[in-house]
Subunit: 232 residues, 4 copies
C-alpha cells in the first residue's frame, strides 16, 4: 500500500470507452498523474488491461471486477490470475452495477490479498461501509446512493461521518469519496472537505474533451490537497 | 461464414489457462490448424484476447461471453465493441456455466450480427437447441447434459437427431457436437458419426502436454473427415 | 386446456396487493368472471395462493413464478409441488421482472406439464415469442417491450403478426396480447383487433377502485368479443 | 426479542416438504416445543406460511427469504408485507442456497425491523459473521462451510470463537450454531459446547419419522441446556 499515497483519484470508464480512445485517455492521465503528483486508478474493460499496462508507466490499472474462483472451471468468469498476468495491480469489487454476495465479496478480497493486488470495494450506504470494513479491503468507495442528489455528498459533515465510521472499524482502510463528481470544481470541494481521494465516471466520459477534463480534475485534487494540508 | 468451413474444432480454456501458457497453446494450435487444414475456435480469458490475436494468424479467437449492452454504463460487463476491438471475431453465449435469459441471448446474437462477428450458442438439450435455432445464431453447440455419461453422445443416431432438429428450424446454422471429448479417439468417432465440428476443454486443459493433445485432436478431425467424405 | 376457452384475461398483482385487499379483488373478479363469462387468470403473491383458492370458485389462480427443481434442497425457491398443493392451477414464467435462462424455462414448462398445470410464458419480442413457442408452453404473453409506447401495440397489424408467428411454430399455443392496457377502452380495442386474451397490472392496481376497474375490463372483453365474433 | 428466549431451535424444510405433511410436522413440533419449553423457528415454503400459522400456536413461522422491495412492482418476488400478513414473524436471509448482495441484505434486515419481525441471517465464515453483525440482524446462523466435515463444528472451541467474534461486534445478536446436525446426539453436543441454539434440515427431512426425530432433537436441546446451566 506504500505506493498508493494520498491524494489519489479513480477514473471508471465502465463500458463507455475502449481500445484506442481508452489508451489515449490513459496516456494523458499517466502524464497528468506525474505532473500533479496524484496517484490515479483506472478501471478499463478487461480486454484492454494488457493494452493499457503495456503503454503507461504510473497509473494503477485495476480490473472492473473479478470472480473469486480458483484456476479451473468457470467459463465466462474473470479469473484473478488472468488479470494480474495482464498487468492489473488491483480490482474493483461490489460496484452498484456489479454487486456481490457477502461470501463472494469476502472471498474476492482474500483472493486479491493472496495475489498481492489492491481491492477497492464500493459501499452503498454508511451501514454497508461499516460491514465491508470488517472484511478489510484496501480501499472503500463511500458512495451512498441515498445521498446522491441531496447536495450533502461532498460536504465536510458527510466526509467526516464516513471517515469516522470506517476508521472506527479499521483505521488502515483508505477511503475514496465519490458521488456525482461532474467537474474540477466538485473535485476541489470534496478534497477540501477532507477527503483523501475521489473519482469520476460520467464527468470524464461525457466531457467534450475527456483528456482535458481528467487533467483539470487531477490539478484540482493537487490544489485542494495542498491548500488543505499546507497550513496544518 | 465463408471462412468457417467444415470441419472445425473448438478449444475452451475456461479459467484453466491464461497468459504465457495460453499463448503457447494458441501458437501450437495455430500451426496445427494450418497443417491439418482444420479451422479452430479458441475462447481465452477476455484479458488474453488481444495477446492471442496479436500473435497468431489463423485461429479464430472468440470471447467466452459478452453482455448485450450498448456503449455506456455497465461496470463489470463485457462490452461487445471492446472485445471486437481487441480482435475477437466471435463470441460464445449461453454456456452451462454462464447461462443467459431468453431476451439477453436474443439481444446478444443480434449484437454479434451487428458487429459482424460469429455467435456460437450452447444448447443444453434437443428442445433448447430447437428454441435457440429460432434465434438464428451462426453455430449451435449441441451438448445435451442429459446424455453426458450415457455413451450415446457421439453416436450416429444422436448426431443425426440433433442435426435434423436444428436443420429443420434453420438449415444455415452450423452444428458443433461436443460432450465429454477426452482424446483424439473421441474426436475421431464423433466426426465419423457425421459431425462437422467438435471441441474439448478438460481433455486438453488437463492433458500432460496440452499442445500435443490439441494437435492430435486436430489430426483426428482431419483423418475422420477425409475418411467420411472421400468416398461420398 | 379445455377450461381455458377464449376469451380470457390475466390480472397480475405483482407486489402491489396482498392479503385482505387481494382477496376482496379476487372475490369481485370471481363474480365478474361468471357474469361476463370470461375466464380470469390471477397471479397473487405466493403466500396468498392458498387464501385465494380457498375462497373463490371460478378464477384460475397461477403462481407468479416457480423454480424447476425437484423436491429436496433449494432454500428460498418456489417448489412446483408446493404451489399446486396450495391450489395453483398454473404458473407464469419469464416475466420481464423475473427472467429465466433458456434451460430453466424449458425445465419449468416441462415441470408444469408433469404436474398438469398451465404455463403462461412472457415473450419480450416477436423473436423471443417464436423461440419460446418451440418449448410448447400453454400460453404465450406477447408483450414486446420494443413496441410499448409506440401506439402499435394493440393494433390489428401487430396482433396479426404475433399470432401468425406463434401459430406458425405451434398452433396449439394460446396467445395473450398485453402491453400497457390502462382501462376498459384499451381492453375493448385489443380484443376488437383480434386478440383472444389480454391483461392488466397497473391499470387495475393503481385504479381508485380496483374491483370496479377489473369488472369494467371484463365487461369490455365480453362486448368486444361478441361484436367481433357475432357476425362471423 | 423477548419471546425468543434461549434455548431455541430452527427447522428448515427448504423444498423437501410442503402441504399436509408439512402441517403434520409443524403440529408435532408445536406440541414438542411446549413439552420441552424450547422455542422453535420453522421456515416452510412461502405458499404454506398461512396454513401453518393458522393451525399452530407456539412455533415461530419464518419465511425462507424475502426481497427488500417496497409495495409495487416486482413480479416473482416475496413482498415483506405479504409474508407478515400471512402470519410470518420472521425471515431467514442469506442462506448459502439463496445468497444476497451486501446492499440487499442490509435493506432486508431494515425492512424486517420496520415490520417488527425477526431476521435470521446465515454467515458462511467467521469473517462473514463479523461483517453481518455490523448490520445488526436479530440472529446470526454461524454455519461456516469451511468447517463442515472437519469435526470441529460443534466443538467448544469453535462455539466460543464465533460467539466471541459476533458478541465483540454486537452483544445483542442471538447466535445459532448449525452445521451438519444429524440427530439428537449432535444436538446435545452442540448445546453442551455452549450454544444457545441449533437447528437441522436434512437430519429431520430425511428421517424415517420426521416428527419423532424433531421431538427427540428438542428433548436433547432441553436436556443439554439444563445440564449446562443447572450448575451455574
Amino acid at each position: 500500500m506504500k505506493y498508493l499515497k494520498a491524494p489519489f483519484f479513480e477514473i471508471g470508464p465502465k463500458a463507455y470507452m475502449y481500445g484506442k480512445e481508452m489508451l489515449e485517455l490513459a496516456s494523458a492521465v499517466d502524464e497528468a498523474s506525474r505532473k500533479y503528483d496524484v496517484r490515479v486508478i483506472l478501471t478499463p474493460q478487461v480486454s484492454d488491461i494488457r493494452l493499457i499496462t503495456a503503454n503507461t508507466r504510473d497509473i494503477l490499472v485495476f480490473a472492473q471486477h473479478m470472480d473469486p474462483i480458483p484456476v479451473g472451471r468457470g467459463l465466462g468468469s474473470v479469473l484473478p490470475e488472468a488479470i494480474t498476468d495482464a498487468g492489473a495491480v488491483g480490482v474493483m469489487l461490489n460496484h452498484a452495477e456489479c454487486q456481490m454476495t457477502v461470501a463472494n465479496l469476502r472471498k474476492a478480497i482474500a483472493r486479491a490479498r493472496g495475489l498481492d493486488i489492491y481491492s477497492i470495494v464500493c459501499a452503498d450506504s454508511l451501514e454497508d461501509a461499516r460491514a465491508i470494513a470488517m472484511l478489510a479491503p484496501d480501499i472503500i468507495v463511500a458512495e451512498p446512493s441515498e445521498l446522491i442528489g441531496t447536495g450533502q455528498t461532498s460536504g465536510e459533515e458527510y466526509v467526516r461521518a464516513t471517515t469516522e465510521a470506517i476508521r472506527g472499524v479499521n483505521p488502515e482502510i483508505r477511503i475514496l469519496q465519490a458521488a456525482g463528481i461532474k467537474d474540477a470544481n466538485d473535485v476541489y470541494n470534496v478534497i477540501r472537505a477532507g477527503a483523501e481521494a475521489t473519482g469520476s465516471t460520467s464527468g470524464i466520459m461525457k466531457a467534450a474533451d475527456p483528456c482535458k477534463m481528467a487533467a483539470e480534475m487531477l490539478a484540482a485534487v493537487r490544489q485542494a490537497w495542498d491548500e488543505t494540508h499546507a497550513t496544518k
